[in-house]
């Protein structure tokens, strides 16, 4: 039975997702519906990153590569059979006859991402600090290069199109809620506690008998599974994409959301995702307005990226633990149980 503070945290974070969905529904504006859907998908990706990065303290750049694996896996297995010859002319015969429903495809995408992570990452989990960060970046480059060149299944650098549209607001929000539950459960699990211990002091973690690489590996595999599921949902939302969707730009957005919100907590992942989404959409609208009103001579581009980058720098300098701070919302003073009145006053 999880403790009271974790349950409060869960309730508040799920409520935040529910409010976002309600806003989209009540507004009836299609654009807001799409923004909230993407936000929920991004939330799954950010939570996945938090599972590994927040608990182990190791920055991973490889995350979006696993999102790509999930997206391509479900795209490949859910693409209608009659379209396969057109989208993927060189597809292997074995794969040309299997067609799954989107739900199964997304689940399979998560599993494939987790299996690839399980196989590739074990030697990497011995590394800490800068070496771990650089190798994870190298892993992203490797995964990207494979997506660009494995034409038989990804259509190479060209657009993969024709993925059935299956992800709506409710599917994305539902999986996001599951991701919140998963991230909180992992954080409070035996592995999660030991992983957080190793983040604080690796030597002391060895001394109490913790096998740190194995702990990190478990976190990394769960993290890749969540990235794969997020990627699959996104594929069935956007329906056509190319390998560039799973590279530096997306990495920066997801990492920015986690850093700005605060990587150490699940609360931080949720706060960061919501805050950055609102800021992003606001800036995009502002940018459009500047361009349509022709306030400046040229067109304004890249405002969102620049502001996100500056926000990241500002947060890291001024409040390195992120907007949400270092403890979960349920453990803050807001929800601290007040001492029972004793009845007598001195």
């Amino acid at each position: 039975m999880p403790d009271r503070r974790t349950l409060i945290t869960l309730a508040v974070l799920v409520a935040a997702v529910a409010v976002s969905v309600a806003v989209a529904e009540l507004s009836g504006v299609r654009l807001i519906d799409r923004v909230v859907t993407v936000m929920c998908i991004n939330l799954i990706l950010v939570l996945g990153l938090q599972v590994f990065m927040g608990n182990s303290g190791i920055l991973s750049f490889a995350h979006i590569g696993f999102m790509g694996i999930g997206a391509y896996t479900t795209a490949l297995f859910t693409l209608p059979l009659q379209m396969r010859g057109m989208v993927l002319p060189n597809l292997y015969d074995v794969l040309a006859t299997v067609e799954l429903s989107p739900a199964l495809g997304i689940a399979l995408g998560g599993l494939v991402a987790a299996m690839v992570a399980a196989a590739l990452s074990f030697p990497l989990m011995r590394l800490s600090d800068a070496a771990a960060v650089i190798t994870s970046f190298a892993l992203l480059v490797v995964l990207h290069t494979i997506m660009v060149h494995w034409s038989e299944v990804t259509n190479g650098p060209r657009t993969f199109f024709g993925v059935p549209e299956a992800t709506g607001l409710y599917q994305a929000a539902g999986v996001a809620v599951l991701a919140i539950v998963g991230a909180l459960a992992f954080k409070e699990s035996r592995t999660g506690v030991l992983l957080r211990a190793s983040r604080d002091d690796e030597v002391a973690a060895h001394t109490i008998g913790a096998n740190v690489p194995v702990l990190r590996w478990r976190g990394f595999v769960l993290s890749a599974f969540m990235a794969g599921v997020g990627g699959g949902l996104w594929a069935h939302f956007i329906t056509s994409f190319s390998p560039n969707a799973f590279y530096l730009k997306e990495t920066f957005v997801i990492l920015g959301m986690l850093v700005i919100g605060g990587g150490a907590t699940v609360t931080g992942a949720v706060v960061g995702t919501i805050a950055v989404t609102i800021a992003y959409e606001g800036l995009r609208a502002f940018e459009n307005m500047l361009n349509t009103e022709q306030v400046f001579d040229g067109t304004v581009v890249g405002l969102t990226e620049v502001v996100l980058a500056c926000a990241m720098i500002g947060i890291l300098v001024l409040r390195p633990e992120g907007l949400a701070g270092s403890c979960e919302i349920g453990a803050t003073a807001l929800f601290r149980r007040r001492p029972q009145p004793t009845g007598e006053r001195p």
Partner: protein, 247 residues
Amino acid sequence: MTTASLTAADLSVEFSGLRALDRVSITLNTGEILGLIGPNGSGKTTLVNALTGHVRALEGTITCAGETITHLKPFQIARKGVARSFQIVRLFRNLTVLENVETAAIVRGASRPAARRRGLALLEDLGLAALAEEPAGALSYGDERRVEIARALAAEPRFLLLDEPAAGMNEAEGHALVAMLSALPAARNLGLLVIDHHMPLIMRLCQRLHVLASGRTIGEGDVETVRRLPAVIEAYLGVSAVEAADA
């Protein structure tokens, strides 16, 4: 209760050619308190580091309850029942005090509720129950040391190696610590090795002493025998006696 021992035989350690330990043999039995003393730089901490796998032995063998553990990694040695504390306290600073203690129980296979119960019981024993929900990074120096000991005990070790457990404690805290440590070997059937510079504390606490100087053993045996050895008086007790007279 059966007696087991943690043993090093002819253990040598070198740091880039410099011999930090030179053929040191030491035995720690369950049920006893062994004091490891010696001047600064004599190799006391290095010996504890070698026994717990943090430093590789150049030669010699280490056995724990008859099993050779010489080339095992620190986490594997910990799982054989050897726990330790550090000269400079190493707590998991962002975890609560209770979670810190829980970690060692979890590694030994306890579920979270079981680890919680064991952790709370230990904190109660060590007078730390009021701090259970505090972040470990916010403790006073003496409390940090006691939490580290509680964490080590949560693993239910057969051998506990403490590197200067009383450092930074005041007189009263030191006395309380001695009382607590004295009871450990019998109550938990473990062997306790204590490094400390504070001779009165060592004399009160230990039945047996092992003295190092410049990486070599220069004396071992019961407290009365060791304090009369000329080499020990010259290398260590002499200095300490002078300091004691000054104070």
